[in-house]
């Protein structure tokens, strides 16, 4: 028993799910991601300065945007809410640093590294494939790398972040990861692959 406690088993939501085959894109769970939910007022200069002091970067103020600095990345969620990403191993310490730096400033720092499952999707046709799950216009001009948005995906709430043109990260609640995984398999089969716009050959 003592081994259970000294080297505890770390088990993410999809640890027991086999990687799906036959999809038009690659998908895997990112297990090494630390996540901190940060609340504060963008209008509060003290807050912004204190955060920058810890993270080394300004918090993004533009809706649906992200900034990265070293191994830290911050996703905009709301005018008073951000998701700070860091290596999982750093999350506890980083949350503590933020909490300390923000002492006395109206804010909230919550380590939520285990709350969401991060799915990394890679493929050339993701925008179209994911459109089978969300009404958000992923083809819109402003939807470029760096784009962040909460959205409805299939029947659950999710967060999308475009990392590179062909790499998307989908954040879903841990309890719903299994469902989303199944949904991706259902919509992503290569037989159902669909190319939107572009040259077509008549049926």
């Amino acid at each position: 028993m003592s081994d259970i406690l000294s080297t505890p088993h770390f088990e993410t939501a999809l640890a027991r799910r086999a990687a799906p085959a036959g999809l038009g894109f690659a998908v895997r769970e990112m297990t090494d991601r630390g996540m901190i939910d940060l609340r504060g007022l963008a209008s509060d200069r003290k807050f912004m300065t204190a955060v920058k002091g810890v993270l080394g970067t300004d918090l993004p103020k533009a809706p649906r945007s992200a900034v990265a600095w070293g191994d830290i990345k911050v996703l905009w969620l709301s005018p008073d809410q951000w998701l700070v990403l860091c290596p999982r191993a750093r999350a506890v310490a980083l949350a503590a640093e933020l909490t300390a730096a923000l002492a006395g400033i109206h804010s909230q720092v919550t380590n939520v590294s285990d709350m969401r499952t991060v799915l990394r999707l890679e493929g050339a046709n993701l925008r179209t494939t994911l459109a089978k799950g969300t009404s958000t216009d992923l083809h819109a001009a402003e939807v470029k790398p760096g784009f962040v948005k909460r959205l409805k995906f299939a029947e659950v709430g999710a967060l999308i972040n475009i990392v590179e043109d062909q790499i998307f990260e989908l954040y879903v609640f841990r309890s719903q990861a299994d469902y989303v995984w199944d949904f991706l398999i259902a919509i992503g089969g290569s037989a159902a692959e669909l190319h939107l716009f572009g040259k077509q050959s008549p049926a």
Partner: protein, 1004 residues
């Protein structure tokens, strides 16, 4: 009747080198790739496709495509059967199995046809006048017979093996319809750089351009269409959809397209592609280029197999190389149908024209005359001979407005092509409130004004001359692109040289007279599928069902699967003539989605089976599965209800789990409990508004049970609030309430108390949380190398500590829902499984066992603790359940406080929570059983309250129940009666705390 009718040449759509065999009603037939089922069956010499709805009259193909309302067939077998498919739209494939519908025992001999013989008894709406006597006959005889006769096809058997999906798309311009108008509009918009989606319900673009005359740049218009289509396929910014019906138009230009991906080739769905795909398109601009639908002219017995619309006859010959018969009559009131006569003549089929107009001297009639086709002007078809087909017609002379014909002559023929003009397909225009105007030239309604960003072009707008269509469509495409992309440059498309034989005006004729009057037994059908005749419509007017909406509902006119696409205007025209009104005065019925019937599969998309709704899983869900837990849905979660061991009955396993908690120790997966962190200088004040009790006075490190009410004063949720430090609280909610309460807190902060400095972050899923409950709970924790003191003194009841168990970070709350010594231990979710395993391992020597929600419920009932949703139901106040002690008297305000003052919420005879002991300790009152004021021999009996929870308590070795009883607290010791089917159970009112009233077991 089975003489093959395939012409030796012709057929632009078929591939004569590729034979396809299929069956119709079990009969093996053959056709060509490219055929529709309608064409192929007719090519095999069969015209009879089905039976009508009410009179079971024999029916054949009428139309060209999706407007077909007669030739409805069942396609496919077993679980892949689709009823009511339109034979004109079904594309032929090898092995296709189709069956006719609504006939017994066979298509050509159908006993239901007796209805036709008796039809004189069955005018429109006859059933409202009869079947009332004797009363009992309705349920047992009349209705069962009516129901059996009703309906068309049969449902499939079993679950659909195919899959479906949906996709959301955003486009600058959506063009509906791929005829020349749609193609031209799409091209113009695309050239300007707009993202264009063009959808057509047919397999091939081009609309009816291949059936029409008229040239563009010297070539037939169909060739221009082919080239234009190719350009769209090639364009980077255009998506072309075929076999894709735009089924609806909703608010803010939400356009829905149902694409039949795999109906024409069963290999496609079998490969894993969806059978249908539903496109949900947000369009900045919509261009309707849906063309026009040909309408018939009603005449006596105008429903016989072999009577088709003129364009449909043309398509049979020109697209499929199928002769509709050997000798035909074209019956028309317009010039366009002369193209059909010419096509027939060219194919070597004998034809004459009957034109209701006094003169037919347009370019097309002249061409027909020149070709040697006989034309009878000022004439109508007044009668049809033949039952299962056409054998001859009577042709009579006619002057507009003539009520009955006087002289008629017989003409042999075996098919009729009829055209009464064209109605713009304005259905989609109306779905979201577009207005129609009546066009005297067309004698039809066409699009008028619309509040949305939508325009109609081409025949859909009522524009019929090719040159006008092209100019209008291009301009609309450009204008749409311009609005969507204000910076785009003009399209500057090369001018088109267009020539076309000019059409002379049509002359309205809705139904042709016969020798008798139309309402004297002649059947002039206007709604073929539902067997509604002109006489039925006229009867409805006379009986007072004058509003067109009444007429529709009284006669079922336009309510069939085609929704009146073909015949509705004839009906309106006939009503106008019968009542002396104009057609606009008659009005029209509301157009509603979908444009054509759409599979429920497509509307469901991929959300079937486990994808229908998520099952939320806790971090130890796999363990529960592995242990064979029986699950209970709680919101979207599935929680273990109990863990039966091999062969164990549920009751046995639940009792075992309960006793183990009371005697040893149990562990429960409580991860689903809602958890919300609330922080800020005003957090305490804020929670004071939310909870009935005081939260601002809670000491750091301590826990307090709280109640939340809605503004009506009724209990909404409950849970333990923990204070971490001055500014930080953790709020627990019920599993089902987690999201609701988080949203509730945000709402009040954002909308009411906007000056409170408080942040709220839901963290339910961050934590796996397990309750370790039982007299040996402390021993289990102690065995896990806690970094903190677990003694009663250091960690008393209702306190909290954060630390580690071994290497696992944990938050430990000493709270209890079982009445035993109990700890709820939370660890980050990805460590959940490790903690769970560790607890089971460390607890093994102490007899630890997992317990499920049912054991939990019994344990808490033994203690008299309420469950929100069981003891409360949305009309329950804190006092009702004995919790008035939790309602602060000191606070000026909290949510729900003022409502608690309303008279009825303080009324003296409210139901109050009590415990119950049945007289027979083994008798378990059923959930929801009601007590009565007085037992009577039979109902009604006045009830005074009901059982909210009821269990066999293994701890007490007897049944216990909780109940809400009028004035219950004043009835302690009274015996109440619960009449149940055939017996009365009696129970004594007792205190709802059944076990350990002093709470001694908690404080150890």
């Amino acid at each position: 009747m089975s003489k093959p009718r395939r012409l030796s040449s012709g057929g632009s759509r078929i591939d004569r080198s590729s034979r396809v065999s299929f069956t119709f009603d079990g009969k093996l037939m053959s056709g060509y790739r490219g055929d529709t089922l309608a064409a192929a069956v007719m090519a095999n010499g069969q015209r009879l496709f089905g039976r009508s709805y009410k009179y079971h009259r024999p029916r054949g193909v009428i139309g060209l495509g999706s407007e077909e309302m007669n030739a409805l067939v069942g396609v496919g077998t077993g679980a892949r059967h689709e009823p009511n498919a339109r034979a004109t739209q079904v594309e032929l494939f090898e092995g296709l199995a189709a069956v006719s519908q609504n006939r017994f025992p066979s298509l050509s001999f159908d006993v239901g046809a007796i209805n036709n013989t008796l039809s004189r008894l069955f005018p429109g709406g006859f059933y409202y006048k009869t079947f009332m006597w004797p009363k009992v006959f309705w349920k047992h005889i009349y209705e069962p017979v009516i129901r059996k006769a009703a309906g068309l096809g049969v449902a499939p058997e079993g679950r659909d093996p195919d899959s479906y999906e949906q996709i959301h798309v955003h486009a600058d311009v959506v063009v509906v319809g791929g005829g020349v108008a749609g193609l031209a509009a799409a091209e113009a918009a695309a050239v300007m750089g707009a993202r264009v989606i063009i959808a057509d319900e047919n397999a091939v673009l081009g609309g009816i351009s291949d059936l029409e005359d008229g040239t563009i740049d010297g070539a037939p218009q169909a060739e221009w269409a082919r080239a234009a289509a190719q350009k769209l396929y090639d364009a980077e910014n255009v998506h072309v959809l075929t076999r894709a019906t735009v089924v609806g138009h909703w608010h803010h230009n939400y356009v829905m397209i149902a694409e039949r991906v795999g109906d024409h080739d069963p290999a496609i769905p079998k490969s894993g592609a969806p059978r249908h795909r539903l496109w949900k398109v947000r369009a900045k601009q919509v261009i309707l280029a849906t063309g026009a639908l040909e309408r018939p002219i009603a005449f006596a017995n105008n429903d016989r197999p072999g009577i088709m619309l003129a364009t449909a006859v043309r398509a049979m010959v020109q697209r499929y190389g199928v002769a509709p018969g050997e000798q035909g009559v074209v019956f028309t009131n317009n010039d366009d149908a002369y193209l059909t006569a010419l096509a027939l003549k060219e194919a070597g089929i004998a034809v004459q024209v009957v034109d209701s107009r006094a003169r037919a001297d347009g370019a097309l009639p002249e061409r027909a005359r020149a070709a040697g086709i006989a034309i009878s002007t000022g004439s109508v078809i007044s009668a049809v001979k033949g039952k299962l087909g056409v054998e001859a017609v009577k042709i009579a002379s006619y002057r507009k407005g003539q009520g009955r014909v006087v002289s008629e002559r017989s003409a042999p023929c075996d098919f009729i092509a009829v055209s009464g003009g064209f109605n713009p397909a304005a259905h989609l225009w109306c779905h979201n409130g577009g207005k129609l105007t009546f066009d005297e030239g067309l004698q039809s309604y066409r699009p008028g004004s619309h509040a949305d960003a939508i325009v109609a072009v081409g025949a859909a707008k009522g524009t019929m001359a090719l040159a006008d269509i092209m100019a209008e469509a291009r301009a609309a495409g450009e204008a749409a692109a311009k609005v969507a992309l204000p910076k785009a440059k003009a399209a500057k498309l090369a001018k088109l040289a267009i020539s076309e034989d000019a059409r002379k005006p049509l002359e309205a004729i809705w139904f042709a007279p016969a020798t008798g009057k139309y309402n004297e037994g002649n059947k002039h059908f206007v709604d073929f599928q539902h067997d509604v005749t002109v006489a039925d419509l006229e009867l409805a007017q006379r009986e007072g069902y004058e509003s067109i909406e009444h007429t529709k509902r009284y006669t079922t006119f336009g309510m069939a699967t085609d929704q009146g696409k073909v015949g509705n205007l004839n009906g309106l025209g006939a009503i106008a003539e019968a009542t002396g009104k104009t057609i606009p005065e008659v009005g029209f019925t509301t157009f509603r989605p979908p444009y054509t019937p759409t599979s429920f599969g497509a509307i469901t998309g991929s959300l079937t089976k486990k994808l229908f709704l998520p099952v939320r899983q806790t971090p130890v869900f796999d363990w529960h599965m592995m242990k064979g837990a029986v699950f209970e849905p709680v919101g979207q979660w599935r929680r273990p209800y109990t863990y039966p061991r091999d062969g164990e009955d549920k009751h046995v396993s639940i009792a075992r789990e309960i006793l183990n908690v009371r005697n040893n120790v149990g562990v429960l997966d409580a991860s689903t409990l809602g958890k919300i962190e609330v922080k800020g200088p005003d957090a305490g004040a804020f929670l004071d508004r939310i909870y009935t009790n005081m939260m601002s006075t809670l000491k750091p490190g301590r826990c307090r049970y709280g109640l939340t009410l809605n503004e009506l004063g009724f209990i909404m949720d409950d849970g333990v609030v923990v204070r971490f430090d001055d500014e930080r609280f953790l709020v627990h909610t019920t599993s089902g309430g987690a999201d609701r309460i988080a949203a509730w807190l945000e709402e009040w902060l954002q909308t009411e108390w906007t000056d409170y400095r408080v942040f709220v972050t839901p963290v339910t899923e961050q934590w796996a949380q397990f309750a370790v409950a039982g007299p040996r709970a402390r021993d289990v924790i102690a065995a896990l190398k806690p970094s903190f003191d677990v003694s009663h003194e250091a960690l008393p009841h209702m306190s909290f500590v954060e630390g580690t168990l071994g290497a696992l970070p944990v938050r430990v709350y000493r709270i209890s829902f079982s009445g035993e010594l109990s700890y709820e231990i939370a660890t980050p979710a990805n460590h959940g499984r490790a903690l769970w395993d560790a607890l089971l391992q460390a607890g093994a020597p102490h007899g630890i066992l997992p317990y499920g929600t049912e054991a939990l419920h019994v344990l808490r009932a033994e203690k008299g603790y309420i469950v929100v949703g069981d003891e409360t139901d949305g009309t329950t106040t804190p006092d009702d359940v004995g919790l008035s002690g939790l309602v602060s008297k000191k606070k000026a305000d909290f949510i729900g406080k003022r409502s608690l003052e309303q008279a009825h919420l303080k009324a003296p005879n409210r139901k109050q929570l009590v415990g119950l002991y049945t007289e027979n300790p083994e008798e378990v009152l059923p959930d929801g059983a009601h007590a009565v004021a007085e037992v009577k021999d039979k109902p009604p009996m006045k009830t005074i309250g009901h059982v909210t929870s009821s269990y066999l308590s293994p701890t007490l070795g007897r049944s216990i129940a909780m109940a809400l009883i009028e004035n219950g607290r004043a009835r302690m010791g009274d015996v109440l009666s619960f009449p149940l089917d055939g017996k009365v159970v009696r129970a004594t009112v007792v205190d709802p705390v059944f076990y350990d009233k002093e709470g001694a077991r908690l404080n150890v």
